[in-house]
Symmetry: D2
Subunit: 350 residues, 4 copies
């Protein structure tokens, strides 16, 4: 069975393991207060062109999401997000468990727009009973989105402007940040994220690390005492250096050209995903979404699904009708060329 | 200005004030552990034909909702409700503040169906990633609904059966219970509620009391230690007898025929509301919803709205387009016949 | 049975009921947005000499406490309080249910000192692992305290100075505010409270109202959007005017001389409580605490306890040893002179 | 600088890294639903002689604690613990953030007794106002404790009996389980823990893993749907197999004799710690606690402290007076014999 079901099926890029092994018996302070975390944070600040940003490392994305949102919002505030947003549908109510409501907006291609945000906030503020409603306090988006699509720089800039004018925080879940940045269709850079968002993260778990997300906070209001929040939600790793080390390994030598493992591996995964997309297109099957990165969604005729499922693990996404099955194919930093080649051949032979 | 905007614009039915005055200087235990609360609970148990039910008095409906839901659910469970449900859109995220997600379902005429509940639970359980989703643990409905419509006995029975089979609690918000029960279209009784629901309440605030909701718990699993929950959320009134006294006054002499103030006043309010409905119908304007109780919703041409707004307070419900205004008219236990007469005349003269 | 067990055993001072009756059928807006609440808030601002204070009315003290504390604190902050503090031991963990820890300090006579606050904060900040501890964010005291004692102006000023310097909020639970202010030993005024505290309240429930607490917020940081918090925790009374009306009735004619029902009734209750204190002292039994207001605590020999318990309800406070019973005697706005006279005689006859 | 400040200053035991490297490019399901987690769980069940136990892997101890406690308790329940308990003083209020109060009991040598539990519960239940207090729902202890001491089998059996009779859960934080089990003074086995506790864990982070705690649930009431809780609190690791793999490596070949890396490394660390203890004793300085495992606490004269601090990192534990400094020395699976030898020599030379 070859697995294309997700981008967290293997361990870590080899430089990560090598650095963990090399430093294994060094003694450092715990809880992220070590030189490796400091160096990794510096590296990320430099890549983001954000010398004053605070950088905090989390083990996983759900924990990063719930901690950032809980730390940022007043008790009566909620977070605007796409109805397909990961925090709304795929984290077992983790945001609500911290007391905050997800204010879901209809999504097109997994995305929400600045106009939707403006309309939602305007409707709230115009409502004479607004005190009986949850107050929007933040916008959460994922980029790439949960359906693999990308926000453009224009779209993110518009969201940023809306949030700034309305007094909302803009938070970007970057669990697949590397795949987004390396997509041939991407027009955003890390400095753009730092300039446009109040807080965002560079995902490690899905992009070559064993685990780890690097949260970058650019808004000064969100910086004080953030480590209390990290600890309170169980997110402060005892051997915190493991997080710093992994980002150092992944970003080693990065100069903005995408040459480090983090970016180079993601670029290759994007290429592979687009080959899969093209292979289906050649068979007359268009992808479900305009998704130019490492996740590709298709509605397969069941005969095709059955043929492929015998050899490949895909993510099942439900059955839209009795004769089709929706699936996601994912490539990753670990996807082997020969696995892709075989899949492409098998698609061609359908 | 004559007010038809809500059913909580006046104080209380006179027998309520009389009984409060009459008993004012009596000394009783606090926190609901007095003979009046005990007698009121007995009275309600008798009317519900539910001798083993637990009865707890709350000051208000939001507090009753959040306390019942928080007490009933596991941390990872959420509550299925209509997208128009009061807990979802009109309580400032009070349910989320206790850690639980509202799982909103599309509503028709303010109602959800047993089939929707079955489908939602089946979809959850069939999802291989169900542990990443909030688990449905309860169904919340309001009857009358937030748009004034009524669940039939058949509909409530179907919901009850679905919940029972699926292992969910069924909770009915009865903030306007009296208006529902006295509607000419109602086919439900208090014993029906007791038999079909795990927990429900008889609203007092909107039905003749100064304040107060009587929560009736019939499911044994929800009974133990409920008073801890009541206290923890600030719902345990120091002078708890005030709640028992009010329900005693409102239900005085009730024998199931609707002769007590609680029911007689509601029946009159329903009649008045239907007169208003008929008056608009006579002008060619149908009500928005098939709502046979004390709330009536209309989309008024702005000329009509302006004419009426000069003399009457209505609840504004937004502007569906540039030339219409949506409004709610409410009658209540306190609506004066002459106010209704004047309104009817003014509608006729539009 | 004559009841001296608490100060919430009767209904309300007659002017409260009279005003509720007189205004009963008036139609007003709900949720506290009516002219009576506005007038009561103005009256309280005037009495506090705090023209810019925000005033919000709650039904009860537990709800006021949890709402104020949750609205004020960051998620990782806790509230310093006496180990005997009501929020710590008598509210079923209501503060923790909002996510915040009570940081209990040893109490002397039910009080904590500015030095204790300074020491606790200094210890926290000096701890290299302070991010692993709850951060102190507020000081909560009750005045009168839970054991009937009073903070002096000097003590409250010192607490206020410590909180200001350390960046903590100072919150005073004034559930028995009237009894405190009218104590012969009191040297604080409402303007003092307004000047020294960030937020405090004037209790109504125990001081002549059916129910109600008037929260006064003087710190601008705590004012915005407070009504969202009020609603979210179920504390926004539908017929909000009932709260405004009661405070108007209680404070009617008040000019700072204590002539209104609120203060005059409390003054009399204090006098009665001190008579009870003196009666025991005449029998050689000193009170447990230096408590110059309406609550008096004694450790009674069991023979005395048994004799009194046959005719009087007292609050049992546990058995310090096999032969004594600790009790609280409470007077209130409703305590009848003849009941006190009888008790005094019975004490003298012990 | 040689570090004796904690037991999480290095990476992982070499077999852990080796197995991670060896399996690195295997493709498995995520979220702990892989064969390695299944095998590790089986291994742990076998070692615990608890074939029906549920085993769940967490990244860290704070997260394990908050998730277990939140999943087990009703909203109004709290957790009895030592005043020195990790959850009470060293996790930034993580338990309160889930809504539950820590009910701290005075500790002797870091331990609480069955009698204290019985007394606390009896006092709660006897209190006529018990509904105004948090209800005890669980007992939490750490073994080894936060001050390095050990519960005996007799003590744990007594706690277990008390909990069983009173209807409380017994939860043992085993962050340092291996050090406890290998102490020369230990008389408990893993099957004892499984038989006596409702839930406990085998710590990996401090005992040779990069990270990871294996939670063992033996009480059937706590088993259903636990993975929802795991996910909701952000504790479900995407590459869950990393946790299973680490425990497999640490427990490799274990047959109950302590031969696996997990136990053998801990045994050596205990020996080293006791050598340090003996070295101070030889200088006339007794340890603070009767702590027979890998943590040793001393109150050092400042001259000694200064001399040692120049070469060794210790955990500072405050200054009990102007001339002494309290410290903790920790050994671990990674402590090198030559580091201990040097420390012993330096102590001898003080």
């Amino acid at each position: 069975m070859l697995r294309f079901e997700c981008d967290y099926g293997e361990g870590a890029a080899q430089p990560v393991l090598d650095l963990l092994q090399k430093t294994n018996l060094e003694q450092t302070s715990g809880y992220g207060e070590d030189a490796y975390c400091a160096a990794a944070a510096d590296k990320i600040r430099a890549l983001c062109d954000a010398p004053d940003a605070a950088v905090h490392f989390f083990v996983g994305a759900t924990q990063a999401n719930l901690t950032v949102i809980d730390a940022a919002l007043k008790p009566w505030q909620g977070v605007l997000c796409a109805e397909t947003g990961h925090i709304h549908v795929h984290e077992t109510g983790s945001i609500e468990a911290t007391g905050h409501k997800c204010l879901a907006l209809p999504a097109r291609e997994g995305k929400i727009t600045a106009q939707q945000v403006r309309d939602a906030v305007a409707a709230h503020r115009a409502n004479p009973s607004h005190e009986h409603e949850v107050q929007p306090g933040m916008v959460y988006i994922s980029n790439p989105t949960e359906v693999g699509t990308l926000y453009t720089k224009e779209e993110l800039t518009a969201l940023s402007a809306a949030c700034y004018e309305l007094g909302l925080y803009l938070f970007v879940d970057g669990a697949r940040m590397a795949y987004g940045l390396m997509s041939p269709r991407n027009d955003l850079s890390l400095p753009d994220y730092a300039a446009l968002c109040d807080v965002f993260y560079l995902g490690g778990t899905k992009c070559g690390a064993l685990f780890g997300e690097a949260v970058v906070i650019t808004n000064d209001d969100l910086k004080p005492d953030f480590r209390y929040a990290l600890k309170q939600h169980g997110g402060m790793l005892a051997k915190g250096r493991l997080l710093g080390l992994q980002f150092l390994a992944l970003l080693d030598g990065e100069d903005g050209s995408g040459s480090s493992p983090y970016f180079a591996l993601a670029a290759e995964a994007d290429r592979q995903a687009l080959q899969i997309r093209d292979a289906f297109a050649a068979k007359g099957l268009a992808a479900q979404y305009d998704a130019p990165a490492n996740q590709q969604f298709f509605v397969l005729p069941d005969a095709w699904y059955d043929a492929l499922a015998a050899r490949y693990a895909m993510s099942p996404m439900g059955k839209p009708d009795a004769r089709h099955t929706a699936v996601r194919f994912c490539t990753s930093w670990a996807t082997r060329p020969e696995a892709v080649a075989q899949l492409l051949a098998d698609i061609a032979a359908l």
